[in-house]
Amino acid sequence: MFQVGYDSQDYGTTMNLFTNGQAAMYCMGSWDASMALNEDIAPEIRDNIRAFTMPVIDGGKGKATDIAAWNGGGYAVSANSAVKDEAIKFLNYMYQPDKLSKYGWENGVGMSAQDQTAYLTGNETELQKQIMDILKNATSVSGTPINDCGPSAFKTAIESEIQGVSNGSTSVEDFLAAIGAACK
């Protein structure tokens, strides 16, 4: 599915290849929906960016409409903050569905995992509309991805080990053993 050398491409390199028209597809999340409005990207690229769900294999588990979506981007307030109560109030205010999420949607800079139908302005990009349809038609939503389900040490370990199992240099058993050790 992926090109030779995919496991050595980082975020910036892959984005550059896609936005320069050197890659036809870019495996990325809804937080990059702002590419459709980024004037630093050539119009012939930016106006033609679209989204589709990951293909499924015949006989495999799951459907193309089972999507990975979660409420990410958590914030923390220091217990020693001089404005702790105000900071908590501010976060509670901004995290209402019609605040931060709506502002992000209206400005095309990203899409949170909620139904944006009530906030349509008519100025949405084609990319935004497609992402909205994908979420509306989802048969299941994953919730928090596995790499965010543990402490930082687990996240670092699994994001390193997954490279080995995906490029075939590590067996599935060794991968599971490594992330199991990282859980301890």
Partner: protein, 291 residues
Amino acid sequence: MKKLYSNKPVIFSLVLPGLLVFLFAVLAPICLSVYYGFTDYSGMGEAQFTGFDNYVNLFHDSAFGRSLKNSLLLAIGFICIQHPLAILVAAVLDKLQGKAEGVFRCIYFIPNVISVAVIAYLWKFIYNPDFGLLNNIAKAFGHPGKINWLSHQNAIWSVLIVLIWHGFGWGMLIYYTGIKNIDPVLYEAASIDGANWWTTFFRITLPLMKPVIQINVTMAIISALKQMETVYLLTNGGPNNSTQFAANYLYQQAFKAFKYGYGNAIGVVFIIICVLATVALNTVFRDKKEA
């Protein structure tokens, strides 16, 4: 002036700033590192004493073992490839004379003045399997497929090439300076005695360059151990820790995995290895001098 230099308060006041910098910027952080290496400190909250757990885990950590092996490979690359080439090029440059000497000296030093970030991304695109320069050259010579230069099997060699290339100019310049300090009368005397270029190089240049070689090789080995920026930007130690180096691994453990205590344990072991390497090199060179 002599009275001034023998005045103890004056001497103390001149030495004190440097001593304070050493104490607070070098010695104190090392002592703190040793302390945190015995804890499970995550960078915030309380630090719980865990004894030698971090060091025991370190010796069973395959990623750390891999990082030391890669450092050793790089050190061998520096000593067996980079420095012999640097000495030869420096010796040839010394003989060139005229404008060509200055031009080639600049050309060889250019990689050292380019920012590490630019170098890492430059080589990332050179190594790109689809659009990279290397694969396009290979295609021009009839190679059919796309070579994955940063694959699990090839990445370490690709990274070593970048690191050897990047540091070449610096080593060459130090050797060039050392050769320029050799008295030309020795070469004239050798020439009168009928010595050719190779004999002059092995019998006069190399022996007189021994102190320079010692310093350069020591710096190269320390540099091999503390590689971080280029590796971080080029591969970040991947794929799957195949290009992991100790300093990069320390950074990942301390600041990404928030295992600050474990990262400090890596740092302490790293310092011990650097000190042992320096002592070993001094012993090797000292023995040869005394003999």
